[in-house]
Amino acid sequence: MSRRPPRGEYIETDTGNKVARKATLVGTQNIMLGGKTVIQQEVMIRGDLARSVQSSSSGGTPASNTAVAIGRYCFLSRGCCLRPPGRLYKGSFTYMPLRINDHVFVGPGSVIQAASIGSHVHIGAKVVIGEFAIIKDYVRILDGSVVPANMVIPSFSIVAGQPARVIGEVPEGGHETFELRDLYKTVGNNLPPAPS
């Protein structure tokens, strides 16, 4: 095996984003990545579902058309889907932006339709997050949870179940486990050999 394969598995951007070639990003002009974010294979981000009805207070500027905004050091695992939530607004259907802050891990096979996700959030595998859910900082959502639409999850919650409910609190000593800097380093095209 050659040291440097001609075509890496990931596309690495100037800001350090690592986007898998096999990821499906629709409407890329409406997707904002903060940098150092990993997007794995078979991830789908629906940037095409941008806000179609402009609120007239903003003066109809088409520039603020972000559908999905993702912060730094996020990790979108294989097969997850980010989809902006949509609802009726003044009689017509429109999508609303989906905002994700820093250090957010999204497990494989999860579907995210939240309105906003804070920083240091861990979302397990096969989780469904309903439309317009608001997830604050330092939240852990266990595998297989279904977060109902419009649910607000306060900081330091551990959430599980169908429908999801708060089942515990993140302990004081567990804050560091949400850091995703080390995980970011383990993914990419030419990695240093992994320690045994």
């Binding site: 207070s57 309903g130 109902p148 639409a149 607000v152 306060p154 409910r165 302990p171 000593g173 045994s196």
Partner: protein, 599 residues
């Protein structure tokens, strides 16, 4: 069964039997041979073992503190749904639930949203400023987007989309507006005025109308007047009347429930009986013992229509409810649940009362003013299997094979800025019926200080040389090392007394276990071999839950020196100024290695 990921639990000293000093609880046969060894299978052990993240550390006592032994103090109350802080003064008057418009579904406890019945639904009510004056009118309901329950199922509709809690308190199931005390009085007066013929009927109707809160208020005023009216004369014989009807016991009961304001010294001498409440104005409520409706409902809806215990437990007491008898027992009678408030809490050491964890009081902030977690004082221990036979290291076997030695790698990571010496001790065999043999190959070692990462980066070459102390060859890349590892032929083999691998602030050592066979027929044989005459007492009952789990109790002792004026830990400078102070900490921990296969 899902393969068990190895884990480490640490025992908090608060549950140490030596400090508890309750030897009577332990059966003497269990205790005499090895009374100092911690048994992770003891029923009590469940309550004292915590993952490292859950433990705090008191800097003044130099001891681990667990969630069970710390003293908590509430800093802030807030609603988990609308995230508004609730002042503690409101808490006393309005209770521990959100009094805004935050409700949970009584069926599935998902969040409820306010929806207009008439026009298009607008669940979030994010009304833009240029919203037309009255875009939505008409009744509003609470709907659950998860299970599609809506408050129309219990006949509750609201006139306004805000302050739902206050509106709901006035509404009964079915949408009937609850009478206030004033309205009730007026209605009664009207009934009396309408004529003597209509009066009895009206008061009859009132009887069923009395809700819990009003009934309590009526009873309270009734008994207060009774107490005031009761004859203060007639001393003596005060001991002989324990009945409920005596003013003596009544005033005592009332002082319990109404805060002692009624307690009257003179009341002690009162005796005799008082009359009881006679009508609904005096708080009389005739019990509705007719359960034919409930039985009919059961016939129609079956068990699905009844409440689960959890649903019943989640139901808040409804003071405006009709009566106490026959509390809502059907799902069709459930009311929306206002969100219980959540708290931010600070934690104190139970011994020295120093604060060891204190969050910012503001709800929005996730920062902590003080956060002394055990993870920044004691080494973390991670476990992973070593020498996976014939497989890739990525896929550990699901179960451990009995009577076959297995090796595990324990990695100790030092969080403090001093070099620590670690001494480990384990019992030779694990406690319990199925005794697995345990050998720690290197029970004593030193972990380097948690120095600056940059120091490490600068002398990176040095590290490679130090990586494998067991190797005598030149430094090698990890890929070849792992190949060698699988081959098992090379120089790199687990050796007694040698550290497996070490890094900047971590050390890996090897633990070898020989899992016991889970065969019950072998148990008497083993006992006979041991020859202590205990073969008659061997317990050959079938395998209990989690008895196949291989858990090793391990005693960890760490020693380090604090330099005078130096920092024990970067975040919290110690105040002692001695030249070199020796510190030590010792605790039990439990290593869960995996399940033993039933071979």
């Amino acid at each position: 069964m899902a393969p068990l990921t190895p884990y480490t639990f640490i025992q908090c000293p608060c549950s140490d039997p030596s400090t508890l000093a309750r030897s009577g609880d332990v059966a003497p046969s269990d205790a005499d041979d090895d009374d100092r060894t911690f048994d992770p299978r003891a029923p009590r052990a469940n309550f004292s073992l915590y993952p490292l993240e859950y433990l705090l550390y008191c800097e003044d006592c130099h001891q681990i503190r667990c969630p069970r032994c710390v003293a908590e103090e509430i800093v802030t109350y807030y609603c988990p749904n609308c995230l508004f802080e609730v002042p503690s003064s409101n808490l006393k008057s309005e209770g521990n639930r959100c009094t805004r418009s935050c409700f949970q579904c009584p069926i599935c406890i998902g969040p409820l949203s306010v929806t207009s019945l008439e026009s298009q639904p607008d669940p979030n009510l994010l009304a833009a400023p240029d919203h037309t004056a009255a875009p939505q009118a008409g009744p509003y309901i609470l709907t659950c987007s998860y299970c599609n329950w809506s408050s129309t199922e219990v006949g509750i509709r609201f006139d306004k989309p805000n302050s739902i809690h206050a509106q709901l308190a006035k509404l009964r199931n079915g949408g009937e507006v609850r009478l206030t005390a004033k309205e009730r009085r007026e209605r009664r007066k009207e009934a009396l005025q309408s004529g003597p013929v209509g009066a009895p009927a009206a008061s009859e109707g009132d009887n069923g109308d009395l809700d819990i809160e009003t009934q309590f208020a009526n009873l309270k005023t009734f008994y207060q007047t009774q107490l005031a009216d009761s004859n203060p004369g007639g001393n003596g014989l005060s001991l002989g009347d324990p009945g409920f009807a005596s003013p003596n016991s009544l005033s005592r009961i009332m002082s319990i429930y109404t805060g002692g304001s009624l307690h009257d010294k003179k009341a002690k001498s009162r005796v005799g009986t008082m009359r009881e409440a006679l009508d609904s104005d005096e708080g009389l409520q005739i019990a509705d013992l007719d359960e034919t409706d409930a039985i009919k409902m059961l016939h129609e809806e079956g068990c699905d229509g009844t409440l689960s215990t959890e649903q019943l437990r989640n139901q808040p007491p409804h003071l405006g409810g009709a009566h106490l008898h026959g509390r809502s027992r059907f799902t069709s009678e459930l009311r929306p649940i206002p969100y219980l408030l959540r708290t931010k809490r600070s934690k104190r050491c139970p011994i020295c009362r120093h604060i060891i964890s204190k969050p910012e009081p503001k709800m929005q902030s996730t920062r902590f003013r003080i956060r002394l977690v055990a993870g920044s004082y004691i080494p973390s221990i991670t476990v992973r299997p070593l020498n996976v036979p014939g497989g890739t290291p990525a896929a550990p076997p699901e179960t451990l094979r009995p009577l076959q030695p297995a090796q595990f790698l324990l990695t100790f990571k030092n969080p403090i800025f001093e070099t620590v010496r670690v001494t480990l001790a384990t019992p030779a065999t694990t406690p319990g019926r199925f005794a697995s043999k345990v050998t720690v190959l290197c029970p004593q070692f030193q972990i380097d200080a948690n120095t600056d990462v940059w120091d490490e980066a600068l002398k990176d070459n040095d590290r490679d040389r130090r990586r494998r102390k067991g190797d005598d060859g030149p430094s090698q890349s990890s890929s070849s090392a792992s190949a060698q590892l699988q081959g098992q032929g090379g120089t790199h083999q687990a050796e007694a007394g040698k550290i497996w691998e070490r890094g900047r602030n971590w050390v890996s050592i090897v633990v070898e276990v020989v899992p016991a066979s889970l065969r019950l027929d072998l148990l008497p044989l083993i006992a006979k071999l041991a020859g202590d005459g205990a073969e008659e007492k061997v317990n050959v009952s079938p395998l209990k839950e989690d008895e196949d789990l291989l858990e090793i109790p391990m005693f960890v002792r760490i020693e380090w020196e604090v330099e005078g004026g130096g920092d024990e830990v970067g975040a919290a400078p110690s105040r002692d100024r001695e030249a070199k102070e020796k510190k030590e900490l010792a605790y039990w921990c439990v290593l869960g290695l995996g399940r033993v296969g039933q071979a």
